[in-house]
């Protein structure tokens, strides 16, 4: 059964000095897109941080393709095939667009430091292949970004920064993609474009599982196959969007009942 599921968590929890941000959370994701919803402070981002290894869970297990990830560092988890984006668009401002994208390929590139120094042709080949891949990934969203590849991130508009961040996360072809509020700060039209972009990833044919955190229910309803609702660190509802949106607990949680 485990083999079918991409990621599975068993009673995962984490404490911050007495505050239980996530508590006994059972979660599964297969070859699908799961929307993670819940009011502010319900532990959604913390849950992603646990999966991506930034926080160590204080209890329970995180299992990815039958392998326990609890003791892994973030970089090891990325190498296993879990990549993520951040809520506050975290690109490296001191790097150009293409360098940011190349960062996403870091763990699949093989050049060692001595090859980088002594075997220039090999290193250049790999970089050039990488650049092609990155351009391929970003032009799915917006081909115009390719023309601005050698500009600093600070000159790029927000929607394109989000696209670059998502492209950075998928360019290394992960098995599981974690999107943390991809439409935060975008206007209505941009949100619509973002939904299309994420749909493109979902339907790209690479078997990729996506967990998406969103406050905008229109995004969730269009993208996700299944929805999980968290409140105060616990799972309160699970199912299709219609089921969850009609669930009493969910309404209570959002209205603060």
């Amino acid at each position: 059964m485990d083999a079918l599921k991409t990621l599975k968590t068993e009673k995962v929890g984490i404490n911050f000095g007495g505050l239980k941000a996530v508590e006994k959370l059972d979660f599964e994701i297969g070859d699908e897109t799961v929307g993670l919803i819940g009011p502010n402070g319900s532990g959604k981002t913390t849950f992603l941080n646990i999966i991506s290894g930034i926080y160590k869970p204080s209890e329970g297990r995180v299992i990815f393709k039958g392998e326990e990830l609890n003791s892994f560092t973030p970089d090891a988890i990325r190498k296993k095939g879990i990549s993520r984006t951040f809520q506050t668009n975290r690109l490296c401002m001191n790097l150009s667009v293409i360098d940011n994208l190349l960062l996403g390929l870091y763990c699949e590139q093989k050049t060692s430091w001595w090859q980088a120094i002594f075997n220039r042709s090999l290193a250049m080949q790999e970089i050039n292949r990488g650049i092609d891949k990155c351009f391929g990934a970003i032009s799915v969203f917006n081909p115009e970004i390719v023309d601005r590849a050698y500009e600093l991130i600070s000159t790029i508009p927000l929607i394109d920064r989000r696209r670059i961040e998502i492209a950075r996360a998928i360019v290394g072809r992960p098995k599981l993609l974690l999107l943390d509020e991809p439409t935060a700060g975008l206007n209505k039209e941009e949100t619509h474009q973002m939904i299309e972009d994420i749909t493109k990833i979902r339907d790209s044919g690479d078997r990729i599982s996506i967990i998406i955190i969103e406050h905008d229910m229109s995004v969730i309803s269009k993208i996700s196959d299944r929805v999980v609702c968290l409140n105060a660190g616990q799972k309160i509802a699970e199912g299709s969007f219609e089921e969850v949106s009609q669930n009493e607990n969910v309404c209570m949680a959002y209205l603060g009942g």
């Binding site: 911050f16 000095g17 941080n49 930034i54 926080y55």
Partner: protein
């Protein structure tokens, strides 16, 4: 053996007294501004040079002694040192700290280290014979209490001054509005500013008080060593920062605890390990490095949860 240990303990306390004040200086500035001002040691030594300068101006010193009794004129001298320290720190704030506020910490780090060098070299160049070791005048009374060689008046006054300054500082931090504001700032800057604490004013107050502390610290350490060298500032500052880190950066009581730890380690390495005198500095710094690796929050500091 017992008296040896006792005398070493006393030595360690003396050393801790000379370190505590500068450590508190580091903690105060870090608490309020989140910036480590690396040139504090040099400022302390410069203040000591200021006192030395006044005493070597024969006319002034004689006039002072003519007007006031010896004790009063010496206290005035020490206060002069403190005021000089306060002025110097304020100047440093405006030239090498304030321009880098809110930027990458590396800039303020480098600029304050460089400022330390500038102060040191200025003393070396412009103080007459500044590059040679200077005899620090014996402003404190000589002689011994109970004819005990450990309890010289000088040592007792150094410890006494430190305790007095600490008590004043305690009173200031816990009983005055400015002191409570400073405490609030070092615990939560945003919230404090939000409830109406004037941050810029508090920074100036902190710098004045910290500078005054440094002046006194410089005087104490120079009196303790009885000699003054222009280039001891970097070492002194480094020890002061170490003390603050070992105790927990930003905590005043931590600096006190840290100074005791560092002083005891250094004195005991010097006293009980054969040939250890040369390595006392090494031992002290090793302790700091170990603290940074295994307990970066220090003795008193609380472990903070880093927010991602």
């Amino acid at each position: 053996m017992g008296s040896l240990i006792l005398s070493q303990v006393f030595n360690a306390i003396m050393l801790a007294c000379t370190l505590a004040l500068i450590g508190i200086g580091f903690s105060l500035f870090f608490g309020v501004m989140d910036i480590v001002v690396f040139c504090l040691g040099d400022i302390a030594i410069a203040s000591a040079f200021c006192i030395l300068g006044i005493t070597s101006l024969t006319g002034v010193y004689a006039a002072l002694n003519g007007i006031f009794p010896m004790v009063v004129s010496n206290i005035i001298l020490v206060i002069c040192g403190g005021v000089f320290g306060a002025i110097l720190v304020t100047v440093m704030y405006h030239t090498v700290v304030a321009p880098f506020e809110g930027k990458n910490i590396n800039a303020s780090l480098l600029s304050t280290v460089a400022a330390g060098y500038v102060i040191r070299e200025l003393i070396g160049i412009f103080y007459p014979g500044g590059r040679d070791p200077q005899n620090f005048p014996n402003l404190l009374p000589t002689g011994y209490l109970f004819n005990n060689t450990m309890l010289s008046w000088r040592n007792i006054i150094i410890v006494g001054t430190t305790v007095l300054v600490l008590m004043l500082l305690y009173w200031f931090v816990n009983r005055t509005k400015a002191g409570i504001s400073i405490q609030a700032l070092s615990q939560n800057k945003e919230a404090s500013i939000m409830i109406g604490i004037d941050w810029h004013k508090m920074v100036i107050v902190t710098f004045l008080i910290g500078g005054f502390l440094l002046g006194i610290a410089g005087f104490l350490t120079a009196s303790y060593a009885s000699t003054l060298r222009f280039d001891t500032g970097s070492m002194y500052g480094l020890l002061g920062f170490s003390v603050a880190v070992v105790g927990g950066l930003g905590s005043i009581y931590g600096a006190l605890a840290g100074s005791l730890v560092i002083a005891f380690v250094e004195v005991f390495v010097t006293g009980f390990i054969p040939g250890g005198a040369a390595y006392s500095g090494v031992a002290g710094f090793l302790i700091v490095v170990l603290f940074i690796i295994f307990r970066p929050e220090g003795i008193i500091g609380e472990k903070s949860i880093s927010k991602v």
